[in-house]
Symmetry: C2
Subunit: 597 residues, 2 copies
């Protein structure tokens, strides 16, 4: 069975030393998050993930979910009890306001805890994850009555939630949506239609499921401008708030899929189900978009979470497996062979994984802190800045972290050789599970187009200007620190490639928008390299400063500096290739007739 130990020490380093979370003490919730509290929360969360969730991960993959004849869905053995433990611990409402029964802690803590959950059991984590998404919609767009009706039971884990967007003919292009909403005299709507790929759509973990459903009100405008968002509980609520009859909502079938077998992916049928408008008529897409930063951060975290657990298992295997001898001479001559961790190519894979997981952990925390500022700060300029940075970098978080997270799982599997291909060791499950994160919540190509086609240009390019300002400040503050200055110089090179790529778009995409589309994925990854480089310079700077002070775990801090250096030497140089690709434009890419493929 795979091993997993939550990386609490690294999380604390990121929060306290790299990002100085204490300086946000003025934000609501942050004053409750003292270093001691954070440490206690993370250690308690780690225990839950390691001891309760992780042992169910292979069970979930092996058993999958079962749709029973009555349309109900049974989750894998142990999931129901684990969900109860999870909910009773208050983990479902970590960052939800106390008035709704939550803990009121920073979103940052919830995001970090979410990494641990994904590492332990991604499929399980999707049940509370989708509930969090649905709660976010209600918090931001629901009426006071809706908040009061739904949130407390969702926070407590009594009810769960889902998001219903996709239909057979509409995935990325939600304008093609057909699910209908017919207004009723009492102000409610009758919802009818079929949704597909609905994660956690039906299951036995909770007594009710609150579906957030996008649909088109009878007579609404065509396309994206005619879509509204509805709350559709699976079971109606009685006047006393108890759960009533089925509301015309049923799971038509479960999808048979590559991975995340422990999560129920449903075809959902709505047959004159009673729904309640949330937010304004025909403004459903806007309601969805405001939730997207958080949802996409959540999917990006899936890349990190799977990457981390896959890395840990690869590292353990590489220390234990004896095969061959070191190129520089036997390292353990008394054994029949050396452990494979002596081989540079094994190290290469482990170090690549490590630059990703540690860099991504910092990146997630950085983004989540900006999310907290955006939600909680009273300083408008500060909110604006965080909003700009998040808007710009959310597609990067989602697209790059899931691409590299998948690659990390593939590399970790590779370390196991043939044993990685066998189900028993669990490595191939990580690959299958990680794969979905590149697809859902906006396929990574769509993220790239969002970045290049929308985010770069928004508000006269203010987001990117703000981001370059951040980068330049970090580079300036680091360039004269011994042992960090050359890392900052490497970041500067990447940043300059990013600027050059942006300039190329400005010169070439106006006349032919395909020139932007053709470079979009490379641009997203180029920005991702810079974003990771940014985190590595910050991390190296923090490590160097602590070493100079003589505080902290010396070995840990020195390893940070080495890993930062490895990142700059081995990962960062890819910005040059990305720039070369972008600058080649769209001509040869678009030249073939569709029929020629």
């Amino acid at each position: 069975m795979p091993v997993y130990q939550a990386p609490v020490e690294d999380t604390l380093f990121v929060l306290q030393d790299v990002l100085n979370i204490e300086k946000y003490g003025n934000l609501p919730g942050f004053s409750d998050a003292s270093p001691d509290i954070i440490k206690a929360v993370l250690e308690e969360g780690a225990k839950l993930c390691e001891e309760v969730l992780q042992p169910l991960n292979q069970v979930g993959d092996h058993e999958g979910c079962t749709r029973n004849q009555d349309g109900s869905v049974t989750t894998p053995t142990g999931f129901k009890e684990a969900y109860k433990t999870f909910s009773e611990g208050g983990w479902g409402g970590l960052s939800i306001a106390e008035e709704f029964g939550g803990q009121g802690l920073p979103q940052t803590l919830a995001a970090i805890f979410n990494e641990y959950v994904v590492s332990a059991n991604m499929s399980f984590g999707m049940y509370p994850g989708l509930t969090r998404g649905a709660m976010a919609a209600i918090v931001k767009h629901g009426s006071d009555a809706q908040k009061k009706t739904y949130l407390p039971n969702m926070v407590s884990g009594e009810w769960s939630g889902t998001m219903n967007l996709t239909e057979p003919q509409c995935g990325t292009d939600l304008g093609l949506m057909r699910t209908k909403a017919v207004p009723q005299e009492d102000g409610s709507y009758k919802i009818s239609g079929t949704k597909i790929f609905i994660s956690a759509g039906e299951h036995d973990l909770t007594s009710n499921i609150i579906h957030m459903v996008l649909a088109r009100i009878d007579g609404a405008p065509e396309g994206m401008k005619g879509i509204s968002l509805f709350i559709v509980p699976r079971n109606t609520l009685n006047d006393d708030g108890t759960v009533g009859e089925n509301n015309g909502v049923s799971c038509g079938s479960l999808e048979e899929k590559m991975g995340i077998h422990g999560n129920s992916t449903c075809v959902m049928n709505y047959d004159d189900a009673t729904g309640f408008l949330i937010g304004e008529e025909n403004k459903g897409m806007r309601a969805m978009f405001t939730m997207m930063n958080e949802a996409r951060l959540g999917v990006g975290i899936q890349g990190l979470g799977i990457g981390e657990v896959a890395y840990q298992n690869a590292a353990e295997y590489a220390r234990d497996r004896l095969q061959g001898r070191a190129l520089s001479g036997a390292k353990e001559p008394d054994k029949p062979a050396d452990p494979i961790i002596v081989h540079p190519d094994i190290r290469r894979m482990l170090m690549n994984m490590r630059t990703f997981t540690e860099g991504a952990r910092a990146f997630v925390a950085w983004a989540a802190i900006n999310g907290d500022i955006l939600e909680r700060s009273e300083d408008e300029a500060e909110r604006q800045k965080s909003s700009d940075l998040l808007a710009l970098l959310t597609p990067v978080i989602k697209g790059v972290m899931t691409d590299v997270g998948f690659q990390t799982a593939v590399d970790a599997q590779q370390v196991f050789g043939g044993h990685g291909y066998i189900a028993e060791h669990g490595m191939e499950q990580f690959v299958r599970d990680a794969r979905i994160a590149m697809i859902y919540e906006g396929a990574n190509g769509v993220q790239a187009l969002d970045l290049v086609g929308r985010k770069l240009a928004a508000n006269g390019g203010r987001s990117l200007i703000t981001y370059f300002g951040e980068l330049d400040a970090v580079i300036a503050a680091s360039k004269d620190i011994e042992g960090v200055g050359d890392l900052a110089a490497a970041l500067k090179k990447g940043r300059d490639d990013l600027e050059a790529a942006t300039g190329w778009f400005m010169q070439n995409a106006m006349t032919n928008p395909d020139n932007a589309g053709a470079g979009s994925t490379d641009y997203m990854h180029l920005m991702g390299l810079v974003a990771f480089g940014h985190m590595w310079v910050l991390s190296a700077k923090a490590a160097q400063e602590k070493l100079a002070e003589g505080s902290g775990n010396e070995a840990f801090l020195k390893n940070k500096l080495i890993t930062a250096r490895y990142f700059m030497e081995r990962v960062m140089p890819d910005t040059a290739t990305r720039l070369a690709r972008i600058s080649s434009g769209s001509e040869s890419m678009m030249a073939l007739d569709a029929e020629a493929f």
Copy 2:
């Protein structure tokens, strides 16, 4: 169900126009392979693959193999009949000499047909594939009596074959092998031990299975120098040549694995099984190594084969799926949305796939022709040259083609969005199946080390000198052709990066061999980029010449030139990043303590 159409037109272009197969008419077997014969063989083979093998591919994945209580193994529905059809068509012995019942055709044709088989049904293809490997061992190292005893029944498909190398404690490091061979008075040996990951180890397709088993003769030297190769038939042979009793060979269990479910991957137990030495005592590794070029080419072809079928399905889906509008304005305004093939990022993935499949097809044929020259030419200098080139490039064929083949399957799945994650469409099967090719027959990191640690230095670096000679001749012959010259210049740049990387190794690996190991995978991929670039310049040159003559399919030839250009603009630039990584050395890669991971 996935579609598949064997790319016969492209194969013929590669053989006839790019590689001028007719100029090898003096080699045995090639005179029988006139253009008409080649076309007829490929078309007949295509039909078999499309109509018989491909419809069983999802069946095989879904059903898998079953081990029965008596230890026998049942293959998926339809495999037995398909194997009969395959064998009766003479496809199992395409390139085996006529004296043993084969067709005596060039290996090149067998390699190309193998691509089609893999595309149609990789798991099925492994049964005849392993038989081919076992036959190759007997052809090259067996006695005349052994050839006569085994080959005719293996060629006819009456019997099949396997290769038994891996044991639980020994994969890459075969020196750790424990399976024992005890000499008997009659010259035979009693073989005892356990082998794992034995593809096609037990099944119901044939009346006997001829296992090629590596084992250590009692008292043999430690390590690799004490390993011998044995023929161990599952059932003994009666004096009249008929199949007798079980020979102490049994399948202990089937591995549960990520993919290739249609192939039986067995734990094989040998319990005083009678085995017959093949080749010399303690020279088993040498016997294995001489087969490796062919086996590794075969696995490289798996990368190509899966890449091709995945590409074809992605292209079809991209033409059919309506979602969103082209950046440059609606292309099909009368439809609710444009087909997704209008989107540059979809094109990017399709063009990447195409540069791989077409480039790899040429690379496979180029390598296979060199294999035929090596086996069949009477000109020693010509044989030497082919031997040098094959030795150098075999790790590249195996390592790069399986890495990029897997990436191609992943990209093809991505084109399908959420539908790619669902089993029904078959795209996720391609990803799972393709994954194994990066691992078996020497994991790709081992290929890279073979290239850098062994092949580069062998014979004073003669192989690389020969290869640079080939490249330089092609560049010189192409540089002044309009429309090809700038492609040749891009190849020159890649070739120079390869030379610089080689020079870096020469200067830095003597003092610290980890500097070679640290750059090995990047070097392998750098050489792969150059090798593909080589094929693309040859292909572009051939296309341009035919266009100038006004012969051939004009659209096809123009698309070749466009795709060659795309390769040089978008794929080739990665050589610079590879070189930068290599030149950074091993210091930060190797600096952490093993316990720090």
